[in-house]
Amino acid sequence: MNWTWFHKLGSPKWFYEISGRWLPWLGWAALVLISVGLVWGLAFAPEDYQQGNSFRIIYIHVPSAFLAQSVYVMLAVAGLVGLVWKMKLADVALQQAAPIGAWMTCIALLTGAVWGKPTWGSWWVWDARLTSMLILLFLYFGVIALGHAITNRDSAAKACAVLAIVGVVNIPIIKYSVEWWNTLHQPATFKVTEKPAMPVEMWLPLLVMVLGFYCFFAAVLLMRMRLEVLRRESRASWVRSEVRALTEGER
């Protein structure tokens, strides 16, 4: 297998160029997919026979929850790559992805709470999924806080990488223990997100939304990473000419 692309990833300039080419595609894909998913899910999908129209919150709750979990795994993978291959770009990805993941967890929690009101009759229920999401949010806060607390850029990235890897090993344990705790303390309640068999016209918009959210994440991550690369390489000549080109276009 040809590994040159992998080593090229270590070059900030190469990354800046290639990501600039991808960014518009990802951005448009995210916009189109999310718009289509929103209209489809809000207006065209049939209503749930038990929950009525409140079930439509699923079209943002589930994609954001998916994304929140996979972003944390991505943090750990980026951390591992940064630790093993000493790749600076992985450090950038780790630190730029963490806030997006935290925001996604916030969306999942808020929509879960709003969904809980008509379904369970209260804004917050210590449901296993919601509780695991809350813990995930705390894990994100830990990574972000550690990154901000350490002033040295490289050690901050490495420390965050170790924490993310420890967190990822713990996530399945936390998830199972919370589920166990939940079944222990309250008899199996009606689960919002567990539908035995969803008809096609219900899960197809969901799939579109999930894809849209992933594209959205990729686009925002690239945006943030490009800015960080410019900041880190601000002394390099290619960055200077890039900044000059970008600011002259504005004037």
């Binding site: 809000l42 207006a43 009525g52 129209n53 808020l110 929509t111 959205f216 900044v243």
Partner: protein, 58 residues
């Protein structure tokens, strides 16, 4: 189309408040996620351009 009129669409069968507030919050957060890096980039470019102009004058 699952709804017969626009007002029915807005009402969401008595769950309108919940559905629309959940969607509103989420879209606001998504826009925030795009807007903040965009603003940061603009500020960075302005600062950087000013710095370069200062260095050129010297």
């Amino acid at each position: 189309m699952n709804f017969s009129s626009f007002s029915e669409f807005m009402a969401m069968g008595q769950h309108g408040l919940y559905v629309w507030s959940a969607y509103g919050i989420s879209i606001a957060v998504l826009l925030l996620n795009v807007g903040l890096p965009w603003l940061a980039k603009r500020r960075y470019l302005q600062d950087e351009a000013r710095r370069m102009r200062r260095e050129e004058k010297r």
